[in-house]
Subunit: 294 residues, 2 copies
């Protein structure tokens, strides 16, 4: 398997799906729909939607039937970035190498574009899977749970609270990363499995794989924030240290953080091996993520 | 029928449902869940959830099976108020007679509490109607459509844009009111019908009734903003005139606005009469709303 080519194929499908499944920029009100597309089209790694598509394909999906779920999770992720960048949150001017939504438009438009992307994530799945209400229901339930007040938004809230304290505890950091980051990566694998008709046992294994992958991803992100530059990241680097934010790197040091990330990567691969069938692409994807900091 | 007693019964059910179907205030993170409940428990007329319950009951629902849908629409409505009150939007300090969420907590908490209520609206229905995926799907689809970028959020966006212009046209005002206000009232009636197993024909009639009721409601709101005081409204009165905002009253004057509201009320009642069965409570509710400005 040519990993780079496979990755490119999946990303191209995601880009096409985003264009296909978002209202055209000229849809009234044009400013709102333009802002929604501006943030979605800023690029990024498309990790979550690629995980949906690759997992669905792994479970036998050969057509575009997982694409709306992939688009929905990218809409959800993008909304969380738009709101996270707002002045009352992280107050960031740069995202994926471009001005953040509230810089490009204004705060109110960014707020509403985020709200609209969040709502669209659910509406799109309800619409696209109308012929399979049970699948629509399972996908929506999974995404709403991962994105809700106990998980994604809960993680963002504790992240904000932790920034105001001198030191967050390892336990608080774990809560934040499990929910702010790992929840959506876990959901991506599970949603791919749902679209592919995976059994409950395999869905549970996908959930475990996603949890470890999400934790590895966040630790790697912390390491990169501490070691890479802004141009490489496409977002402001060194922010965590500047804000004296508690991260894995601050709490455990670089070496221990690398070891922790490697451990979660290993556990991800172990979980994937428990699944029947061909893991070639998912394994290569997990390993390519780990290599970013090795 | 004792209208006041019936109204009280429905509102009490809504209040009980809100308490039952929201995570406890102490759920981690407590600040987030406390903020979600703070805004929900601020009261208000509970018009949308009462419409869901009353419509469902009218179509034969005798148990609490419409309650999660009613709670979901109130979560959705409350999120839209929290975000609408933020400094980058209407910048309002007072809502339902209490400090707005960002005044009581802070902007970031208010933003996240709004996001969480929006997400919870969908998650709650996915969870509560898990045994009836087709109903869950239909309810979620209806709410996502009404709350999406072409309707509720689209209306909010055009409302903001209109405020920056010297004069909004009657056509722009119609778009704003149809979407910012009428969409959710329409959805309330349709969701009640869905929970009650109404036929497609009756659902279409409910949609038409909801559209006229929503427009009547918004015109009445404009009239009250121009004529009532802050204590009566529980929110800042005279805001529209102060902001030189285009409203029905500014565009058409008080008399014509009253006539327009009366016309939409009549059309609501006409639509309701097309439904088979007993309209006593819904008719009384529509009339009580109209009487607020007569």
């Amino acid at each position: 398997m040519d990993f780079a080519a496979e990755m490119k194929r999946h990303v191209a499908r995601v880009e096409r799906g985003l264009d296909l499944h978002l209202p055209p920029a000229g849809t009234r009100p044009a400013r709102l729909h333009t802002a929604m597309r501006y943030s979605l089209e800023a690029g990024g790694k498309r990790l979550r939607p690629v995980l949906v598509l690759a997992t669905a394909e792994r479970f036998g999906v050969r057509d575009d039937s997982a694409l709306p779920a992939a688009v929905a999770i990218e809409c959800l992720h993008t909304y969380s970035l738009i709101h996270d960048d707002l002045p009352c949150m992280d107050n960031d001017d740069l995202r994926r190498g471009r001005p953040t939504a509230h810089k490009q438009f204004d705060e109110a438009t960014a707020l509403l574009a985020g709200d609209a992307l969040l709502t669209h994530a659910f509406g799109l799945m309800a619409e696209s899977y109308a012929a399979s209400p049970a699948l629509a229901h399972a996908l929506i339930r999974e995404l709403a749970d991962a994105a809700g007040s106990r998980r994604l938004i809960g993680g963002q809230m504790e992240d904000l609270l932790a920034e105001k304290k001198a030191d967050a505890s390892p336990e608080e950091l774990e809560f934040i990363h499990l929910n702010k980051t790992a929840a959506m990566i876990e959901a991506a694998l599970v949603m791919g499995g749902l679209a592919g008709g995976a059994t409950d046992k395999n869905l549970a294994t996908l959930r475990r794989a996603g949890r470890h992958l999400g934790l590895a991803f966040q630790i790697i992100d912390d390491i990169l924030d501490a070691t890479a530059d802004t141009a490489t990241l496409g977002k402001t680097a060194g922010k965590d240290a500047k804000a004296d934010k508690t991260t894995f790197v601050k709490l455990h040091g670089l070496e221990k953080s690398r070891a922790l990330a490697a451990n979660h990567t290993t556990q991800t691969l172990t979980a994937l091996r428990e699944l029947p069938g061909d893991n070639t692409f998912l394994t290569a994807l997990v390993e390519s993520m780990a290599q970013r900091v090795n």
